[in-house]
Symmetry: C2
DNA sequence: TTGAAAGCGCTAACAG
DNA sequence: CTGTTAGCGCTTTCAA
């Protein structure tokens, strides 16, 4: 391995001079600078990033930590983050947080391998995030309401989105509306449930416990629980699914039971994933600005990093009406 | 910041002892080990990963560098890589390579911030990859045929897959088959074109230049070029699209012109992305083992890292017949 | 304008 | 079993 030392030797200068020269400091005469650059090129010198990081006590990289790297859902968030990170001349690394406390995510945060982070990973809990965040490592969370000096959140208006969705169903004349739930401990799910509840109550309907079906945000589960539910006596005329994935599974279940969508049963999802508009029938759903979430969050990382104040924010959602309602 | 030094002081031992103790070396008596651990806990000590990396000259992290972080196509590859990396107790970071030579990917490779890499990023060229690969930084490429001591490839059998696809069309009685091409400089595209060509020639058909339509792998482009093409005189009865995304765009174009699929025009794609089975009509396509690609590649990274020999490999594809043919 | 030297936080000979 | 010490490769005072 060729180090700065080697370059300095070859150029016949001191290491410090070589360092300055390669960083194009104006302290060094043009002549020596040229000499050093040449030596560097001749030797094929590559600065060692880790060593520089250690010395400068920063990495100029931002981490984006996700629960599940392979979820298509995140694509747009990632893009938003990437764009802002690049604009600041920093690097982005995406890591998994699925292992909770012994995930890459947590490790990188603890060991200060990133200068800031955007987190969308319920498995890392509030206490852990609070523990690692500091002025030199601001964290923006996208999946909970956590706010302190160095921790801010960017959320979507889950409650209102769900409220819009269910109100829409009620306005269309559907009154027996099932809530197809996500995991109970999911913040998004909790908020969406509140929106469902509020829409029902404000329209004079009661919350019926037997119309709350628990799922886990996956298509498969959506299919299974709705299949099971429809096989029972209970008649319903609409489903509000806490996300699109489950809605897609539910649609399949509904069609297999020969119910017509939306005549017999209407359905609305949440997220507006790409598949939503391709499915048959196209799915009415709640769209939220995923790309903007990424942008907002990342801008906030840099704000805090630069010592200015950042304000947590809640972004609006939008009802997208398609043929499933 | 609390360092190992602080822990050592607090525990009343030397730094080295503290280091050994925290790494649970058996050289240190249980008593001192306990004492050091306690001091560490009391102070809230966190080892500094960067410092350790510098000293040990390794990072225990593997990089996966993709052209476009947000492509849904990659999900399964990522999962395969992640699983193997975790199994080895290493960390995975995913980075973008879209900036070519000044991308995060290239930088991390040059600066040895990862101990090995899996690359699926045409923008980083062969010479650059060859330059950075070494025994301590093996690289597996998924998008080209590049092979040396420290560089291996894992590819899918693009040529055969395309051959299968086109043969299938011919067997079904379609003879005027268009090739909807990806970018000319894409390795995948080139191979798929060869397969198209071979299938035609072996069945006694000629290659007709006007039946080769150039696209860029995106849905939008597929829609546009096929719309344009169908508006012309030339009658055709089938399309082999170099990937599913373009096929999906093409399907929309075909339907808008009121042609029936597959009666008037049949179409087959390549990749078997999730959408392929949801689209209307469901798309016949070539499936390839993306998850396995990730696994194979990552296993090879570790093989080379451990000094054993790894063999580049080409994985088979499979024709998935659906209603578009 | 350049060089010597200290040190970022850690590990690992080596000596005791 | 524990401590002393020498770096890993780099940046950055400080002095010359």
């Amino acid at each position: 391995m060729v180090t700065l030392r080697d370059v300095a030797n070859k150029a016949g200068v001191a290491v410090s001079t070589a360092s300055y020269a390669l960083n194009n400091s104006s302290k060094i005469s043009l002549a020596t600078r040229k000499k050093v650059h040449k030596a560097s090129r001749d030797l094929g010198y590559q600065p060692h990033g880790i060593a520089r990081n250690l010395k400068k006590q920063k990495t100029e990289t931002i981490g984006l930590f996700l629960n599940d790297l392979s979820g298509p859902y995140y694509s747009e968030v990632i893009q938003g983050v990437q764009d802002v990170v690049s604009a600041h001349g920093y690097d982005l690394i995406v890591g998994s947080a699925s292992g909770g406390t012994n995930s890459t995510a947590y490790k990188f945060l603890l060991e200060k391998r990133v200068d800031g982070a955007v987190i969308l990973a319920p498995k890392i809990n509030d206490a852990e995030i609070s523990r690692v965040a500091k002025a030199s490592l601001p964290i923006i969370v996208l999946d909970r309401r956590l706010d302190s000096d160095y921790i801010k959140y960017v959320l979507i208006d889950n409650l209102n989105g769900a409220y819009q969705a269910v109100s829409h169903l009620i306005n269309r004349g559907y009154h027996k509306i099932v809530y197809l739930s996500g995991p109970e401990d999911s913040f998004d799910n909790q908020e969406r449930f509140k929106g469902y509840q509020r829409a029902l109550l404000e329209n004079g309907f009661n919350l019926m416990p037997q119309r709350i079906i628990s799922g886990n945000f996956t298509e498969k589960e959506g299919y299974q629980v709705i299949s099971g539910f429809l096989a029972q006596e209970e008649r319903i005329d609409a489903i509000f699914s806490a996300n699109d994935e489950m809605a897609i599974g539910a649609i399949q279940a509904i069609r297999e039971m020969s119910f017509k969508i939306p005549d017999d049963i209407a359905i609305v999802g949440f997220d507006d994933i790409r598949l939503a508009s391709y499915i048959n029938p196209p799915l009415t759903t709640i769209r939220h600005p995923k790309y903007e979430m990424g942008r907002f969050a990342t801008n906030m990382v840099f704000q805090v990093l630069h010592g200015s104040k950042a304000e947590s924010v809640v972004l609006p959602t939008q009802l997208i009406t398609r043929q499933s309602t």
